[in-house]
Symmetry: C2
Subunit: 383 residues, 2 copies
């Protein structure tokens, strides 16, 4: 299977103010995006791919002259791949508040002439979807064939069906949940506290001080990594292996391989990720809760999504968003007699499994997108 | 059931150097301890209670004039309680490296005249047991009726059977594990990094700077708390409940009740716990691995413990030290045809369950200590 090849990010600016859930408004903003494949004549073959915490609009392909610059879901998206760009026009959009191009805390606040920093408005999953919908409209797409996302991206895919029910046909929600559990929120909060209490955070205005709260970012990323991996895969990969030479009896030096791995992940992350973006994105996760406006009844929330078809995928060892959370979504859909396919993939890799190339997982995705592709030829109906 | 009443901590100093696993030596040290009940004429009714991360020698009873100063296992230890001080002479010893009295990083290093700080030698579970054994000997006790501990305390109880097999008869190991998993070590390491990278840590010599690395301690404690509670109990207690007034759309303020709870726990902890002690105790947890010297074969490690009788207790929702980890201990004991009772308690509270008063759990503990009490009257044999 081939890659989509060399790709170029694009951008689109918007001057119509975007009203956010918080009550704040973004007057002007820019979204970075990429597309792969060709939009067909009736603009019916577009698939939007929504990204999670650490990703961007760069879903597939490579940047010219940059080694190892493959998009974050390159194993899934491309010619002949499960989401086949020979059939679909695939769109990746970087979300507002990100640090990968779209308007975010590192950009200038037009009201102050300084970087937004902590003054960047809090954004929600619904706000992101609103911004994405405008871009999709400007691309001339009245109805998406599908919206696809994993983890936080899956929440966006779900939110699309609730906010713009007439503007997509299929929803593919992978390794996601209808809201965060108390434990999920707790992990987010510890990570945020590590960042916010780092003296280099300066209340979120560290750009002006020429520093980065790297200590906090490192700790946040280490915590995150523990929750992305399954207990078993961490045990299989690292176990209790020690650094060469056996114990040095030190509390501060690395003794175990797992420590070395986590520190490396934390260091890398602190070099490129923005602290304010981390806060914004984890908060968007915390707030997402479509059942909330319906008295906590998820089935009532999905009553509006009756014309859609869903694929929901979970992974057995994912303890961040466990299969039980996906089954809550499935139950709410079934309660509404909505067409839903559900796959619980027996994979050892924990939450990270949604980014990996597992044959059973990719087989399910391939089959479902083939079904969507077939429906394109029949005017939007399954044959 | 009555409390043991008002208690007084005692201390005992040792001038015989203690050789530590690390190769270092503690020339002089003091242990703080408490006792409850009365040692019988042949000194056969003594039970040592080993403490975990956050506890001390103050196992039961209260301090005169101090409200809410009950010992950490006061619900288990006292007259008429499961570990009945009408029958047993119970001893709590504060471990070396602690911040609750026994020689630790806050004390003066005789070689420098300044607090040890980060120069306090790394101590292991085995080192603690060696120090405890000396104190027990000085109390005139040649053989303990039992050693009891939960979590890290359970590791000490297990280590007693391996290091001093002739000096105890029963071992009660609750909510513990034969070693830490990679995930357990990972959580410890993140907590340590939060402390060590706090600018107020000063490489572990913060005492001289008149500061305390409270930011790091707070984050460490928040992470710990997440792992002590079960996902379900956190969900039941806090769920997605928000602070009064609904969302304020802030990344830095408290939005959810779980955040308020965790911050409170972190704040409290940072007021009284020592950062160097935190590093030492989590490292002792990391290193504990009795199977290591036996090619990773836990059954071979326990071959020396054939004359003991064991009670092993686990809790269904404990994901820090899950029942599967206790069953590894039980298997190793059974492989050696050792007398072991195992109770897997169906309790919702996660790892914290070992400190709580669950009727089934306390019923098991009571029955087992009654068996030990009965054996005292028959000269050390079960009747």
């Amino acid at each position: 299977m081939a890659s989509v090849g060399t790709v170029l990010p694009q951008q689109m600016s918007f001057d119509t103010p975007l009203a956010l859930r918080s009550g704040a408004t973004l007057g002007h903003y820019t979204l970075h995006y990429e597309t792969y494949g060709t939009l067909n004549a009736d603009a019916s073959n577009a698939v939007l791919v929504c990204h999670a915490l650490n990703a961007s609009h760069h879903v597939a392909g490579e940047y010219a002259g940059q080694e190892r610059s493959e998009g974050w879901w390159d194993n899934l998206v491309g010619p002949g791949k499960p989401l086949d760009t020979n059939h679909f026009f695939v769109i990746g959009i970087n979300n507002l508040g990100s640090c990968f191009g779209s308007t975010g805390p590192m950009h200038l606040n037009p009201q102050t002439g300084k970087p937004y920093g902590a003054d960047f408005p809090v954004v929600t999953v619904e706000d992101w979807v609103d911004a994405q919908a405008r871009l999709i409209e400007r691309l001339g797409i009245r109805q998406l064939a599908a919206v696809l996302g994993g983890s936080l991206g899956g929440m966006q895919a779900l939110a699309w069906t609730l906010r713009y029910p007439e503007r997509l046909r299929y929803c593919v929600a992978v390794a996601t949940a209808p809201n965060l559990s108390a434990q999920n929120i707790a992990f987010n909060e510890v990570a945020r506290r590590a960042i916010i209490t780092d003296p280099d955070f300066h209340g979120g205005h560290f750009y002006e001080h020429g520093v980065v709260p790297k200590r906090g970012l490192r700790v946040a990323r280490m915590i995150g990594h523990i929750t992305y991996l399954s207990d078993d895969s961490m045990e299989a990969k690292f176990g209790r292996d020690m650094r060469a030479g056996g114990p040095a009896y030190s509390t501060q030096d690395i003794e175990f391989q797992i420590e070395s791995y986590l520190r490396h992940q934390g260091d890398k992350f602190s070099e490129y990720f923005d602290a304010n973006t981390y806060l914004l994105i984890t908060r968007a996760l915390d707030y997402f809760d479509p059942a909330r406006e319906h008295g906590g009844d998820l089935s009532r929330a999905f009553a509006i999504a009756r014309q859609h078809k869903f694929l929901v995928v979970s992974f057995t060892t994912d303890w961040r968003f466990s299969p039980a959370r996906s089954r809550e979504i499935v139950k709410a859909l079934v309660d509404n007699r909505i067409d839903v396919s559900y796959a619980e993939i027996d994979a050892p890799h924990g939450h990270d499994a949604f980014l990996l190339e597992d044959p059973r997982y990719h087989g399910v995705m391939r089959a479902y997108f083939q079904r969507i592709a077939a429906s394109l030829k029949t005017g939007g109906q399954d044959e």
